[in-house]
Symmetry: C2
Subunit: 145 residues, 2 copies
DNA sequence: TTGAAAATTGGAATTATTCTAATTTAGTAA
DNA sequence: TTACTAAATTAGAATAATTCCAATTTTCAA
């Protein structure tokens, strides 16, 4: 069962929404709490299913709206592997993603502190990256199930 | 106008198809030549439009089939930015992609020879990457149009 | 409390892609 | 060459994630 947001998360959410001129709503708060509660890179459908367990009136369209809002506020990252449904990740540390070929599951991969700088350095003059996404795909050993 | 394939490309194609137990067809050859002729990361629709200029009977389904085949043979890479249509890239050198936020255009970014090794090294024990995709998104200066 | 703007909602619409079943083609063996 | 078989192509239908739309509800500031 998903409890409400920890105060710090609630504050981060309210601040981020405020900064972007957006309102705090119980749906946004709940969707955010769903993402924080189980950090397994769920799809919008999965977030919808989990959200309805405690907020049965929430609609799929709202889940999409909330996820887009959270991404827009920088609280959540969208993870796209090929043409699979978008997954959502509330990990704000610098990290990459690894998808297991067999299970399809996605894992966070921590990055050394200077790696992003090094990656940025490979860009030719005149190219300014606002975001950098690093995706691994392969086999992860000894995964449960 | 798209001419036929250079002999070397034709050989690379036939070899790759052969190795994968697939047949050489004029559609596969033509789609490959379309990709090689203008390396601007076209979508399937764009490849379809270009292909029809010289092969008016080719179908969209075949273009999708050929592109999938070429990707499967390792002759072409699929490039996915967010939920945009997949783009196709016949550059076989190790490289990353950069998308300009304003134009949506995608550019190849050469990578230093040891970078992929370094990236692989960030994976924890037990994770084996079969592919690594590095996506930049941002502003490219002084682009024509 | 009230009014306006923003957010939510259910359902329809969109669209890139995949699927299907019929036809055509490529490659092989006689 | 011919005939055969498996593979490839084709047109159009189907799929599925996401977005759009118009109506209702909610938030927040005055």
């Amino acid at each position: 069962m998903v409890r409400g947001l920890p105060v710090e998360a609630k504050e981060a959410l309210d601040n981020a929404l405020m900064e972007h001129g957006l309102r705090s709503t119980k749906q946004r708060e709940h969707v955010f709490s769903v993402l924080l509660h189980k950090r397994d890179h769920p799809t919008a459908d999965e977030v919808y299913a989990r959200s309805r367990q405690e907020m049965d009136s929430i609609s799929l369209a709202t889940v999409y709206n909330c996820l887009e809002t959270l991404v827009g506020c920088g609280l959540v990252r969208a993870v796209n592997y090929e043409r699979e449904p978008t997954r959502y990740c509330p990990n704000l540390h610098e990290h990459a993603h690894f998808q297991d070929r067999r299970t399809g599951r996605v894992y966070d991969v921590d990055l050394p502190p200077d790696l992003m700088k090094k990656l940025r350095a490979v860009l030719p003059e005149g190219y300014h990256a606002e975001s950098i996404e690093l995706y691994f795909h392969g086999k992860a050993e000894a995964e449960n199930s």
